[in-house]
Protein backbone atom coordinates (compact mmCIF):
# COMPACT_ATOMS: atom_id res chain seq x y z
CA UNK A 1 0.00 0.00 0.00
CA UNK A 2 2.65 2.48 1.01
CA UNK A 3 5.53 0.69 -0.65
CA UNK A 4 4.99 2.53 -3.92
CA UNK A 5 6.06 5.64 -2.10
CA UNK A 6 9.73 6.32 -2.67
CA UNK A 7 11.58 9.26 -1.43
CA UNK A 8 12.98 11.58 -4.03
CA UNK A 9 12.83 10.33 -7.56
CA UNK A 10 16.40 9.84 -8.66
CA UNK A 11 16.65 8.49 -12.19
CA UNK A 12 19.81 6.47 -12.52
CA UNK A 13 21.77 7.27 -15.66
CA UNK A 14 24.89 9.22 -16.53
CA UNK A 15 24.47 12.64 -18.02
CA UNK A 16 26.24 15.96 -17.79
CA UNK A 17 23.55 17.15 -15.42
CA UNK A 18 23.90 14.06 -13.23
CA UNK A 19 27.60 14.73 -12.88
CA UNK A 20 27.36 18.39 -11.97
CA UNK A 21 28.45 19.33 -8.47
CA UNK A 22 25.19 19.14 -6.44
CA UNK A 23 25.98 22.50 -4.80
CA UNK A 24 26.18 24.19 -8.21
CA UNK A 25 23.04 22.39 -9.32
CA UNK A 26 21.12 23.53 -6.25
CA UNK A 27 22.21 27.17 -6.58
CA UNK A 28 21.55 27.15 -10.31
CA UNK A 29 18.05 25.83 -9.65
CA UNK A 30 17.35 28.59 -7.15
CA UNK A 31 18.44 31.25 -9.66
CA UNK A 32 16.48 29.69 -12.53
CA UNK A 33 13.34 29.67 -10.39
CA UNK A 34 13.92 33.30 -9.44
CA UNK A 35 14.30 34.26 -13.10
CA UNK A 36 11.17 32.34 -14.12
CA UNK A 37 9.37 34.60 -11.68
CA UNK A 38 10.88 37.87 -12.84
CA UNK A 39 10.03 37.24 -16.52
CA UNK A 40 7.64 40.01 -17.53
CA UNK A 41 6.94 39.18 -21.17
CA UNK A 42 6.73 36.27 -23.56
CA UNK A 43 10.16 36.89 -25.07
CA UNK A 44 11.85 36.47 -21.73
CA UNK A 45 9.66 33.50 -20.88
CA UNK A 46 10.53 31.93 -24.21
CA UNK A 47 14.24 32.15 -23.32
CA UNK A 48 13.54 30.40 -20.02
CA UNK A 49 11.52 27.74 -21.85
CA UNK A 50 14.46 27.05 -24.12
CA UNK A 51 16.76 26.84 -21.12
CA UNK A 52 14.54 24.38 -19.28
CA UNK A 53 14.06 22.29 -22.41
CA UNK A 54 17.83 22.07 -22.95
CA UNK A 55 18.33 21.06 -19.32
CA UNK A 56 15.70 18.32 -19.73
CA UNK A 57 17.34 17.05 -22.91
CA UNK A 58 20.80 17.05 -21.34
CA UNK A 59 19.54 15.14 -18.29
CA UNK A 60 18.86 12.04 -20.46
CA UNK A 61 15.76 11.39 -18.38
CA UNK A 62 12.92 10.16 -20.66
CA UNK A 63 10.23 12.75 -21.34
CA UNK A 64 7.48 10.48 -20.09
CA UNK A 65 9.08 10.74 -16.63
CA UNK A 66 8.66 14.50 -16.79
CA UNK A 67 5.12 14.13 -18.08
CA UNK A 68 4.32 12.00 -15.07
CA UNK A 69 5.30 14.96 -12.88
CA UNK A 70 3.09 17.28 -14.86
CA UNK A 71 0.11 14.96 -14.58
CA UNK A 72 0.18 15.27 -10.82
CA UNK A 73 -0.17 19.05 -10.93
CA UNK A 74 -2.66 19.15 -13.80
CA UNK A 75 -5.60 20.16 -11.55
CA UNK A 76 -3.63 23.13 -10.23
CA UNK A 77 -2.70 24.18 -13.74
CA UNK A 78 -6.29 24.01 -14.97
CA UNK A 79 -7.52 25.89 -11.94
CA UNK A 80 -4.93 28.64 -12.41
CA UNK A 81 -5.78 28.93 -16.09
CA UNK A 82 -9.53 29.29 -15.52
CA UNK A 83 -9.07 31.71 -12.67
CA UNK A 84 -6.78 33.94 -14.73
CA UNK A 85 -9.07 33.88 -17.75
CA UNK A 86 -12.09 34.91 -15.72
CA UNK A 87 -10.34 37.38 -13.52
CA UNK A 88 -8.70 39.43 -16.23
CA UNK A 89 -11.47 41.06 -18.23
CA UNK A 90 -9.98 44.31 -19.48
CA UNK A 91 -8.77 44.53 -23.04
CA UNK A 92 -10.63 45.22 -26.24
CA UNK A 93 -10.72 41.88 -27.90
CA UNK A 94 -13.57 39.94 -26.34
CA UNK A 95 -13.38 36.31 -27.33
CA UNK A 96 -16.35 35.04 -25.52
CA UNK A 97 -19.13 36.45 -23.44
CA UNK A 98 -22.05 34.80 -21.75
CA UNK A 99 -24.06 35.87 -18.72
CA UNK A 100 -21.50 37.36 -16.29
CA UNK A 101 -18.58 35.51 -17.88
CA UNK A 102 -16.33 37.43 -20.23
CA UNK A 103 -13.15 36.03 -21.69
CA UNK A 104 -10.81 38.50 -23.34
CA UNK A 105 -7.66 37.95 -25.35
CA UNK A 106 -5.68 39.56 -22.55
CA UNK A 107 -7.15 37.08 -20.11
CA UNK A 108 -6.18 34.13 -22.27
CA UNK A 109 -2.65 35.43 -22.72
CA UNK A 110 -2.31 36.07 -19.02
CA UNK A 111 -3.54 32.56 -18.26
CA UNK A 112 -1.13 31.04 -20.76
CA UNK A 113 1.70 33.02 -19.20
CA UNK A 114 0.91 31.75 -15.72
CA UNK A 115 0.52 28.16 -16.88
CA UNK A 116 3.86 28.19 -18.68
CA UNK A 117 5.48 29.60 -15.56
CA UNK A 118 4.11 26.83 -13.38
CA UNK A 119 5.09 24.15 -15.87
CA UNK A 120 8.62 25.50 -16.09
CA UNK A 121 8.87 25.58 -12.34
CA UNK A 122 7.82 21.95 -12.00
CA UNK A 123 10.00 20.77 -14.86
CA UNK A 124 13.20 22.46 -13.73
CA UNK A 125 12.71 21.17 -10.17
CA UNK A 126 12.18 17.70 -11.61
CA UNK A 127 15.48 18.01 -13.49
CA UNK A 128 17.20 18.51 -10.13
CA UNK A 129 15.45 15.67 -8.31
CA UNK A 130 15.83 13.21 -11.20
CA UNK A 131 19.55 13.84 -11.49
CA UNK A 132 20.58 14.23 -7.85
CA UNK A 133 20.36 11.62 -5.10
CA UNK A 134 18.93 12.75 -1.74
CA UNK A 135 22.34 12.03 -0.24
CA UNK A 136 24.03 14.40 -2.70
CA UNK A 137 21.44 17.04 -1.90
CA UNK A 138 22.06 16.65 1.83
CA UNK A 139 25.80 16.95 1.29
CA UNK A 140 25.24 20.01 -0.89
CA UNK A 141 23.09 21.72 1.72
CA UNK A 142 25.59 20.93 4.47
CA UNK A 143 28.43 22.27 2.38
CA UNK A 144 26.57 25.41 1.28
CA UNK A 145 25.64 26.23 4.86
CA UNK A 146 29.21 25.72 6.05
CA UNK A 147 29.98 29.45 6.23
CA UNK A 148 27.48 29.59 9.11
CA UNK A 149 30.17 28.07 11.32
CA UNK A 150 31.68 31.52 11.60
CA UNK A 151 28.49 32.46 13.42
CA UNK A 152 29.03 29.53 15.78
CA UNK A 153 26.33 27.49 14.02
CA UNK A 154 28.66 24.82 12.60
CA UNK A 155 27.40 22.08 14.89
CA UNK A 156 23.80 23.01 14.15
CA UNK A 157 24.39 22.67 10.41
CA UNK A 158 26.04 19.29 10.93
CA UNK A 159 23.19 18.13 13.16
CA UNK A 160 20.59 19.15 10.59
CA UNK A 161 22.43 17.31 7.83
CA UNK A 162 22.74 14.23 10.05
CA UNK A 163 19.04 14.36 10.81
CA UNK A 164 18.26 14.54 7.11
CA UNK A 165 20.52 11.57 6.41
CA UNK A 166 18.94 9.47 9.15
CA UNK A 167 15.43 10.40 8.00
CA UNK A 168 16.25 9.43 4.44
CA UNK A 169 17.71 6.19 5.69
CA UNK A 170 14.76 5.25 7.91
CA UNK A 171 11.76 6.44 5.89
CA UNK A 172 11.71 3.27 3.74
CA UNK A 173 12.20 1.08 6.84
CA UNK A 174 9.35 2.73 8.73
CA UNK A 175 7.15 2.71 5.63
CA UNK A 176 7.58 -1.07 5.35
CA UNK A 177 6.86 -1.38 9.02
CA UNK A 178 3.66 0.68 8.75
CA UNK A 179 2.51 -1.67 5.99
CA UNK A 180 3.13 -4.64 8.24
CA UNK A 181 1.30 -3.13 11.19
CA UNK A 182 -1.66 -2.22 8.98
CA UNK A 183 -1.85 -5.79 7.68
CA UNK A 184 -1.55 -7.16 11.20
CA UNK A 185 -4.35 -4.92 12.50
CA UNK A 186 -6.54 -5.73 9.50
CA UNK A 187 -5.97 -9.44 10.11
CA UNK A 188 -7.35 -8.87 13.59
CA UNK A 189 -10.46 -7.32 12.08
CA UNK A 190 -9.58 -3.66 12.40
CA UNK A 191 -11.73 -1.51 10.15
CA UNK A 192 -9.65 1.33 8.76
CA UNK A 193 -11.80 2.57 5.89
CA UNK A 194 -15.40 3.12 6.95
CA UNK A 195 -16.95 5.51 9.42
CA UNK A 196 -16.71 9.26 9.90
CA UNK A 197 -13.50 11.20 10.41
CA UNK A 198 -13.52 10.73 14.16
CA UNK A 199 -13.80 6.96 13.97
CA UNK A 200 -11.16 6.91 11.23
CA UNK A 201 -8.74 8.78 13.48
CA UNK A 202 -9.57 6.39 16.28
CA UNK A 203 -8.87 3.45 13.99
CA UNK A 204 -5.42 4.92 13.25
CA UNK A 205 -4.32 4.81 16.88
CA UNK A 206 -3.62 1.05 16.89
CA UNK A 207 -1.28 1.72 13.97
CA UNK A 208 0.41 4.86 15.22
CA UNK A 209 1.16 3.62 18.71
CA UNK A 210 3.06 0.45 17.73
CA UNK A 211 4.83 2.48 15.05
CA UNK A 212 5.92 5.07 17.59
CA UNK A 213 7.17 2.40 19.97
CA UNK A 214 9.13 0.73 17.25
CA UNK A 215 10.61 4.04 16.08
CA UNK A 216 11.80 4.82 19.60
CA UNK A 217 13.33 1.34 19.89
CA UNK A 218 15.11 1.80 16.60
CA UNK A 219 16.37 5.22 17.66
CA UNK A 220 17.77 3.66 20.83
CA UNK A 221 19.55 0.92 18.88
CA UNK A 222 20.85 3.38 16.31
CA UNK A 223 22.24 5.65 19.03
CA UNK A 224 24.18 2.69 20.44
CA UNK A 225 25.44 1.74 17.00
CA UNK A 226 26.56 5.33 16.31
CA UNK A 227 28.30 5.52 19.69
CA UNK A 228 30.09 2.27 18.89
CA UNK A 229 31.40 3.86 15.73
CA UNK A 230 32.90 6.76 17.63
CA UNK A 231 30.33 9.35 16.55
CA UNK A 232 30.67 12.57 18.50
CA UNK A 233 29.05 15.20 16.34
CA UNK A 234 30.56 17.21 13.55
CA UNK A 235 33.71 18.25 15.37
CA UNK A 236 36.86 16.49 14.17
CA UNK A 237 34.85 14.57 11.59
CA UNK A 238 36.18 14.25 8.05
CA UNK A 239 34.39 13.09 4.91
CA UNK A 240 35.39 10.39 2.47
CA UNK A 241 33.97 12.23 -0.51
CA UNK A 242 34.86 15.84 -1.04
CA UNK A 243 32.69 17.85 -3.41
CA UNK A 244 35.02 19.27 -6.04
CA UNK A 245 33.62 21.58 -8.73
CA UNK A 246 34.93 20.99 -12.25
CA UNK A 247 34.87 22.59 -15.69
CA UNK A 248 31.26 21.45 -16.25
CA UNK A 249 30.10 23.44 -13.26
CA UNK A 250 31.80 26.65 -14.32
CA UNK A 251 30.70 26.31 -17.94
CA UNK A 252 27.03 25.72 -17.08
CA UNK A 253 27.12 28.63 -14.67
CA UNK A 254 28.55 30.90 -17.37
CA UNK A 255 25.84 29.84 -19.83
CA UNK A 256 23.21 30.57 -17.21
CA UNK A 257 24.59 34.02 -16.55
CA UNK A 258 24.42 34.80 -20.29
CA UNK A 259 20.79 33.58 -20.48
CA UNK A 260 19.88 35.56 -17.37
CA UNK A 261 21.44 38.68 -18.87
CA UNK A 262 19.39 38.13 -22.03
CA UNK A 263 16.24 37.70 -19.97
CA UNK A 264 16.93 40.98 -18.24
CA UNK A 265 17.47 42.77 -21.55
CA UNK A 266 14.53 41.39 -23.57
CA UNK A 267 12.25 41.24 -20.56
CA UNK A 268 13.02 44.84 -19.61
CA UNK A 269 13.13 43.61 -16.05
CA UNK A 270 14.80 46.64 -14.60
Amino acid sequence: MLSSFTLGQYYNTTSVIHRLDPRFKLLQLIFIIAFIFVCKNFFALFLMCALVLIAMLLSKVPFRMYLRNLKVILPIVVFTAILNMLYVNQGEVVLFSWWIITVTLDGVLKAAFMVIRILLLILISAVLTYTTTPTELTDAIESLLKPLKFLGLGELVHTLAMMMTISLRFIPTLTDETDKIISAQKARGADLESGNILSKIKALLPILIPLLFSAIRRADDLADAMDCRCYSGGKGRTRMKKLVPGAKDYITTTILIVVFAAVIVVGKVF
Binding site: M226, D227, R229, M240
Partner: protein, 284 residues
Amino acid sequence: MQNIIEINNLTFQYDGDSPNSSAAVEGINLQIEKGSFTVILGHNGSGKSTLAKLLNGLLLPTEGSVSVDGLLTTDEKNIFEIRRKLGMVFQNPDNQIVCTVVEEDVAFGPENLGLEPSEIRKRVDSALETVDMTEYRFAAPDRLSGGQKQRVALAGILAMEPECIVLDEPTAMLDPKGRKEVIETITRLNKEKGITVILITHFMEEAENADRVIVMDSGKITADGSLFDVFSNTGLIVNAGLALPQSVELLSVLKQKGFNVKPGYISPKAAAKEIYRALKGGTL
Protein backbone atom coordinates in the same frame (compact mmCIF):
# COMPACT_ATOMS: atom_id res chain seq x y z
CA MET B 1 49.44 -15.02 25.23
CA GLN B 2 48.28 -11.46 25.85
CA ASN B 3 44.74 -10.64 26.94
CA ILE B 4 42.73 -8.06 25.03
CA ILE B 5 39.94 -7.90 27.61
CA GLU B 6 40.28 -8.01 31.37
CA ILE B 7 37.14 -8.09 33.51
CA ASN B 8 37.47 -7.98 37.27
CA ASN B 9 34.63 -8.68 39.65
CA LEU B 10 32.16 -6.96 37.35
CA THR B 11 28.64 -6.23 38.57
CA PHE B 12 26.03 -4.16 36.77
CA GLN B 13 22.57 -3.12 37.87
CA TYR B 14 20.22 -1.25 35.53
CA ASP B 15 18.60 0.83 38.25
CA GLY B 16 21.74 1.41 40.26
CA ASP B 17 19.97 3.40 43.00
CA SER B 18 17.63 0.79 44.45
CA PRO B 19 19.84 -1.61 46.42
CA ASN B 20 17.51 -4.61 46.47
CA SER B 21 16.94 -4.92 42.71
CA SER B 22 18.82 -7.81 41.14
CA ALA B 23 21.91 -7.30 39.03
CA ALA B 24 21.85 -8.00 35.28
CA VAL B 25 25.52 -8.99 35.48
CA GLU B 26 27.02 -10.21 38.73
CA GLY B 27 30.55 -10.88 39.94
CA ILE B 28 32.10 -11.69 36.58
CA ASN B 29 35.82 -12.33 36.24
CA LEU B 30 36.93 -12.95 32.70
CA GLN B 31 39.97 -12.63 30.46
CA ILE B 32 39.78 -12.87 26.70
CA GLU B 33 42.93 -13.75 24.81
CA LYS B 34 44.04 -11.81 21.76
CA GLY B 35 43.11 -13.59 18.54
CA SER B 36 40.71 -16.03 20.19
CA PHE B 37 37.18 -16.95 19.11
CA THR B 38 34.81 -17.01 22.09
CA VAL B 39 31.13 -17.89 21.99
CA ILE B 40 28.81 -16.73 24.78
CA LEU B 41 25.60 -18.71 25.23
CA GLY B 42 22.70 -18.07 27.57
CA HIS B 43 18.92 -17.98 27.62
CA ASN B 44 16.85 -14.78 27.25
CA GLY B 45 17.61 -12.26 29.94
CA SER B 46 20.73 -14.02 31.19
CA GLY B 47 22.75 -10.81 30.83
CA LYS B 48 24.64 -11.39 27.58
CA SER B 49 23.77 -8.06 25.95
CA THR B 50 24.42 -6.23 29.17
CA LEU B 51 27.89 -7.79 29.35
CA ALA B 52 28.53 -6.83 25.72
CA LYS B 53 27.59 -3.21 26.34
CA LEU B 54 29.87 -3.11 29.37
CA LEU B 55 32.81 -4.12 27.17
CA ASN B 56 33.04 -0.83 25.26
CA GLY B 57 31.63 1.61 27.76
CA LEU B 58 28.06 1.84 26.43
CA LEU B 59 27.31 0.86 30.02
CA LEU B 60 29.66 1.50 32.92
CA PRO B 61 30.19 -0.99 35.76
CA THR B 62 28.25 -0.58 38.99
CA GLU B 63 31.11 -2.44 40.64
CA GLY B 64 34.40 -3.85 39.40
CA SER B 65 36.19 -2.92 36.21
CA VAL B 66 36.54 -3.64 32.51
CA SER B 67 39.62 -2.86 30.51
CA VAL B 68 40.29 -3.25 26.81
CA ASP B 69 43.93 -3.52 25.79
CA GLY B 70 44.84 -2.03 29.18
CA LEU B 71 42.42 0.90 28.89
CA LEU B 72 39.76 1.21 31.59
CA THR B 73 36.24 1.88 30.28
CA THR B 74 35.53 4.12 33.26
CA ASP B 75 38.15 6.62 32.13
CA GLU B 76 36.33 9.04 29.86
CA LYS B 77 39.34 9.94 27.77
CA ASN B 78 39.82 6.29 26.76
CA ILE B 79 36.35 5.83 25.39
CA PHE B 80 36.96 6.54 21.69
CA GLU B 81 40.15 4.51 21.65
CA ILE B 82 38.30 1.60 23.27
CA ARG B 83 35.45 1.81 20.78
CA ARG B 84 37.87 1.89 17.88
CA LYS B 85 39.69 -1.18 19.18
CA LEU B 86 36.54 -3.06 20.10
CA GLY B 87 33.84 -2.90 17.45
CA MET B 88 30.31 -4.06 18.02
CA VAL B 89 27.64 -5.54 15.76
CA PHE B 90 24.07 -5.81 17.01
CA GLN B 91 21.09 -8.02 16.41
CA ASN B 92 18.86 -5.88 14.23
CA PRO B 93 20.57 -5.20 10.91
CA ASP B 94 18.22 -2.31 10.11
CA ASN B 95 18.98 -0.33 13.22
CA GLN B 96 22.73 0.01 12.86
CA ILE B 97 23.12 1.34 9.34
CA VAL B 98 23.24 5.13 9.39
CA CYS B 99 23.62 6.26 5.79
CA THR B 100 21.58 5.81 2.63
CA VAL B 101 24.38 4.36 0.49
CA VAL B 102 26.34 1.23 1.45
CA GLU B 103 29.83 2.64 0.96
CA GLU B 104 28.99 5.84 2.77
CA ASP B 105 27.75 3.87 5.71
CA VAL B 106 30.99 1.89 5.82
CA ALA B 107 32.83 5.23 5.76
CA PHE B 108 30.85 6.56 8.75
CA GLY B 109 33.21 5.14 11.41
CA PRO B 110 36.50 6.23 9.79
CA GLU B 111 34.97 9.66 9.12
CA ASN B 112 34.26 9.99 12.82
CA LEU B 113 37.88 9.12 13.52
CA GLY B 114 38.87 12.15 11.44
CA LEU B 115 41.00 10.24 8.94
CA GLU B 116 42.22 11.59 5.60
CA PRO B 117 39.73 11.07 2.71
CA SER B 118 42.23 8.90 0.82
CA GLU B 119 42.78 6.69 3.86
CA ILE B 120 39.01 6.38 4.40
CA ARG B 121 38.57 5.38 0.74
CA LYS B 122 41.23 2.69 1.12
CA ARG B 123 39.67 1.26 4.26
CA VAL B 124 36.13 1.30 2.87
CA ASP B 125 37.17 -0.53 -0.29
CA SER B 126 39.12 -3.14 1.63
CA ALA B 127 36.37 -3.66 4.25
CA LEU B 128 33.73 -4.16 1.54
CA GLU B 129 36.08 -6.57 -0.21
CA THR B 130 36.58 -8.53 3.01
CA VAL B 131 32.86 -9.04 3.61
CA ASP B 132 32.32 -9.66 -0.11
CA MET B 133 29.94 -6.74 -0.63
CA THR B 134 31.96 -4.72 -3.17
CA GLU B 135 29.37 -5.15 -5.91
CA TYR B 136 26.73 -3.56 -3.67
CA ARG B 137 28.78 -0.52 -2.69
CA PHE B 138 26.37 1.96 -4.29
CA ALA B 139 23.21 0.15 -3.20
CA ALA B 140 20.62 1.49 -0.78
CA PRO B 141 20.80 -0.52 2.45
CA ASP B 142 17.04 -1.08 2.62
CA ARG B 143 17.18 -3.01 -0.64
CA LEU B 144 19.60 -5.63 0.75
CA SER B 145 18.82 -8.96 2.40
CA GLY B 146 19.29 -9.35 6.15
CA GLY B 147 22.54 -11.23 5.72
CA GLN B 148 23.87 -8.59 3.37
CA LYS B 149 22.89 -5.77 5.74
CA GLN B 150 24.65 -7.54 8.57
CA ARG B 151 27.79 -7.87 6.45
CA VAL B 152 27.59 -4.13 5.66
CA ALA B 153 27.38 -3.46 9.41
CA LEU B 154 30.41 -5.69 9.87
CA ALA B 155 32.27 -3.80 7.14
CA GLY B 156 31.46 -0.54 8.93
CA ILE B 157 33.20 -1.91 12.01
CA LEU B 158 36.11 -3.40 10.05
CA ALA B 159 36.82 -0.03 8.45
CA MET B 160 37.81 1.23 11.91
CA GLU B 161 40.46 -1.53 11.96
CA PRO B 162 39.45 -2.98 15.33
CA GLU B 163 41.41 -5.62 17.23
CA CYS B 164 38.31 -7.23 18.62
CA ILE B 165 34.73 -7.54 17.38
CA VAL B 166 31.80 -8.30 19.67
CA LEU B 167 28.67 -9.57 17.91
CA ASP B 168 25.44 -9.63 19.89
CA GLU B 169 23.17 -12.23 18.28
CA PRO B 170 24.06 -11.03 14.78
CA THR B 171 22.13 -13.87 13.14
CA ALA B 172 18.99 -13.89 15.28
CA MET B 173 16.89 -12.11 12.66
CA LEU B 174 18.34 -13.82 9.59
CA ASP B 175 17.25 -16.73 7.46
CA PRO B 176 19.53 -19.81 7.32
CA LYS B 177 21.36 -18.55 4.24
CA GLY B 178 22.05 -15.14 5.76
CA ARG B 179 23.14 -16.81 8.98
CA LYS B 180 25.64 -18.94 7.13
CA GLU B 181 27.05 -15.93 5.22
CA VAL B 182 27.58 -13.98 8.43
CA ILE B 183 29.10 -16.85 10.42
CA GLU B 184 31.47 -17.72 7.58
CA THR B 185 32.58 -14.09 7.34
CA ILE B 186 33.19 -13.86 11.08
CA THR B 187 35.14 -17.11 11.13
CA ARG B 188 37.28 -15.96 8.23
CA LEU B 189 38.06 -12.65 9.97
CA ASN B 190 39.22 -14.55 13.03
CA LYS B 191 41.32 -17.13 11.21
CA GLU B 192 42.80 -14.94 8.48
CA LYS B 193 43.08 -11.49 10.05
CA GLY B 194 43.60 -12.64 13.62
CA ILE B 195 40.79 -10.43 14.90
CA THR B 196 39.54 -11.44 18.35
CA VAL B 197 35.89 -12.48 18.08
CA ILE B 198 33.27 -12.64 20.82
CA LEU B 199 30.06 -14.08 19.42
CA ILE B 200 26.90 -13.97 21.52
CA THR B 201 24.31 -16.34 20.15
CA HIS B 202 21.28 -18.50 20.70
CA PHE B 203 22.24 -20.94 17.98
CA MET B 204 24.53 -23.53 19.43
CA GLU B 205 25.66 -24.77 16.03
CA GLU B 206 27.38 -21.41 15.66
CA ALA B 207 29.73 -22.40 18.48
CA GLU B 208 31.27 -24.97 16.15
CA ASN B 209 34.34 -22.89 15.32
CA ALA B 210 34.86 -21.45 18.80
CA ASP B 211 38.07 -21.89 20.78
CA ARG B 212 36.15 -21.25 23.93
CA VAL B 213 32.53 -21.41 25.04
CA ILE B 214 31.07 -19.43 27.95
CA VAL B 215 27.61 -20.13 29.32
CA MET B 216 25.75 -17.41 31.23
CA ASP B 217 22.79 -17.80 33.52
CA SER B 218 21.18 -15.04 35.64
CA GLY B 219 24.09 -12.68 35.14
CA LYS B 220 26.78 -15.20 36.12
CA ILE B 221 29.17 -17.39 34.20
CA THR B 222 28.17 -20.99 34.84
CA ALA B 223 30.47 -22.74 32.39
CA ASP B 224 33.66 -21.76 30.64
CA GLY B 225 35.87 -24.03 28.62
CA SER B 226 36.54 -25.62 25.27
CA LEU B 227 33.59 -26.44 23.06
CA PHE B 228 34.01 -30.12 23.76
CA ASP B 229 34.27 -29.78 27.54
CA VAL B 230 31.26 -27.50 27.84
CA PHE B 231 29.03 -29.66 25.69
CA SER B 232 30.15 -32.85 27.38
CA ASN B 233 28.52 -31.57 30.54
CA THR B 234 24.96 -31.82 29.23
CA GLY B 235 23.36 -31.36 32.65
CA LEU B 236 24.91 -27.93 32.93
CA ILE B 237 23.65 -26.82 29.51
CA VAL B 238 20.12 -27.90 30.36
CA ASN B 239 20.32 -26.19 33.77
CA ALA B 240 21.27 -22.94 32.06
CA GLY B 241 17.94 -23.06 30.24
CA LEU B 242 19.42 -23.93 26.85
CA ALA B 243 18.18 -26.57 24.45
CA LEU B 244 20.82 -29.15 23.57
CA PRO B 245 21.90 -29.31 19.93
CA GLN B 246 20.36 -32.40 18.31
CA SER B 247 23.66 -34.16 17.82
CA VAL B 248 24.64 -33.65 21.47
CA GLU B 249 21.24 -34.89 22.55
CA LEU B 250 21.58 -38.01 20.43
CA LEU B 251 25.06 -38.71 21.77
CA SER B 252 24.02 -38.26 25.37
CA VAL B 253 21.03 -40.60 24.93
CA LEU B 254 23.37 -43.18 23.39
CA LYS B 255 25.70 -42.73 26.36
CA GLN B 256 22.85 -43.31 28.81
CA LYS B 257 22.00 -46.49 26.93
CA GLY B 258 25.49 -47.73 27.58
CA PHE B 259 27.31 -46.86 24.37
CA ASN B 260 30.87 -45.74 24.75
CA VAL B 261 30.45 -42.23 23.26
CA LYS B 262 31.40 -38.75 24.45
CA PRO B 263 28.53 -36.25 23.94
CA GLY B 264 30.56 -33.07 23.29
CA TYR B 265 30.27 -32.98 19.48
CA ILE B 266 27.86 -30.39 18.12
CA SER B 267 28.31 -30.69 14.38
CA PRO B 268 26.39 -33.62 12.84
CA LYS B 269 29.53 -34.70 11.00
CA ALA B 270 31.65 -34.92 14.16
CA ALA B 271 28.81 -36.68 15.96
CA ALA B 272 28.57 -39.24 13.15
CA LYS B 273 32.28 -39.87 13.39
CA GLU B 274 32.01 -40.37 17.14
CA ILE B 275 29.16 -42.87 16.77
CA TYR B 276 31.06 -44.70 14.06
CA ARG B 277 34.09 -44.90 16.32
CA ALA B 278 32.00 -46.29 19.19
CA LEU B 279 30.34 -48.89 16.99
CA LYS B 280 33.20 -49.99 14.77
CA GLY B 281 36.21 -48.93 16.74
CA GLY B 282 37.78 -46.99 13.86
CA THR B 283 37.53 -43.67 12.06
CA LEU B 284 34.97 -42.78 9.42
